[in-house]
């Protein structure tokens, strides 16, 4: 609500991290509804604690640390309820070759040769870029999105991620690579296609 947001400019700023936080929770909890609830709790807790936030860490880092406690609570709760979340991979991993088959023709040539992206690092400073980035993450298949997020955003060990996802390490890598390739295609189509036009 705009009225709330004007009270403390940081309220609106906190809200802008919601998408990231839900993704973070989803990577740990693998349940969208529960993740959204947990993030909601974390954001409410953050609003209360906001006056004490000194800004030593970035706002996102601070919010994530609050969220971590809420996630731990939710995980304990889940164990208590003895809910068994069967770890199933909801899409086949396939193998590296089938991934390459999709990108290359019979003679090993690019089906769609990658064009240069104009000054991609400047994009990192643009709010609009991050909106597109998040939308592209949302388009990844569920397991792909979770695994990519844990591996590339949180920098966790692939071995550990595969264990929690209950998939083989080879399969896990293929899932990350597929996510990587899809994300690249999505950013190209929705961000860099417009950017490169005037950049070259």
């Amino acid at each position: 609500m705009p009225n709330d947001a004007t009270r403390d400019p940081r309220h609106a700023e906190i809200e802008s991290h919601r998408g990231y936080l839900v993704r973070y929770a989803l990577a740990k909890l693998r349940d969208r509804e529960l993740s959204e609830e947990v993030v909601q709790e974390a954001l409410l807790a953050a609003l209360e604690a906001l006056p004490g936030f000194r800004g030593d860490a970035s706002l996102r880092t601070w919010l994530t640390s609050i969220l971590r406690f809420k996630i731990a609570d939710a995980q304990r709760e889940r164990v208590r309820e003895r809910e068994v979340f069967a770890a199933t991979s909801d899409e086949p991993g396939g193998d590296l070759e089938s991934l390459l088959d999709a990108a290359f023709g019979p003679n090993g040539e690019w089906r769609e040769p990658p064009a240069a992206w104009a000054d991609p690092h400047a994009s990192l400073e643009q709010q609009r870029f991050w909106e597109v980035f998040e939308r592209c993450l949302d388009r990844l298949p569920a397991t792909g999105g979770r695994v990519f997020f844990q591996r590339e955003v949180l920098g966790e060990e692939t071995k550990r991620i595969c264990e929690t996802e209950n998939i083989t390490e080879a399969n896990c890598w293929v899932i990350v690579h597929r996510a990587r390739m899809s994300l690249r295609t999505c950013l190209e189509a929705n961000w860099f296609a417009g950017e490169t036009a005037d950049g070259r």
Binding site: A103, E109, W110, E152, G155
Partner: protein, 61 residues
């Protein structure tokens, strides 16, 4: 050089992806570097994958 074989874009991208999983062997490294120096498409792809990793880790901050 030993058995010469055509090193195609497909092999280059296979190595680019494998490099995320493990260190490449010297031979693989050499083949890949050679290909990237000569192939703009794969060089673009290499830069773009690196950019994605950079963007992803930046996303957490």
């Amino acid at each position: 050089m030993g058995a010469e074989r055509e090193f195609r874009c497909r092999e280059a991208v296979r190595l680019l992806l494998l490099a995320f999983e493990r260190a490449l062997t010297d031979d693989e490294e050499r083949d890949l570097k050679g290909h990237l120096a000569a192939c703009g498409h794969c060089d673009n792809y290499d830069r773009q994958l690196r950019f994605l990793s950079a963007a992803a880790s930046r996303f957490a901050r």
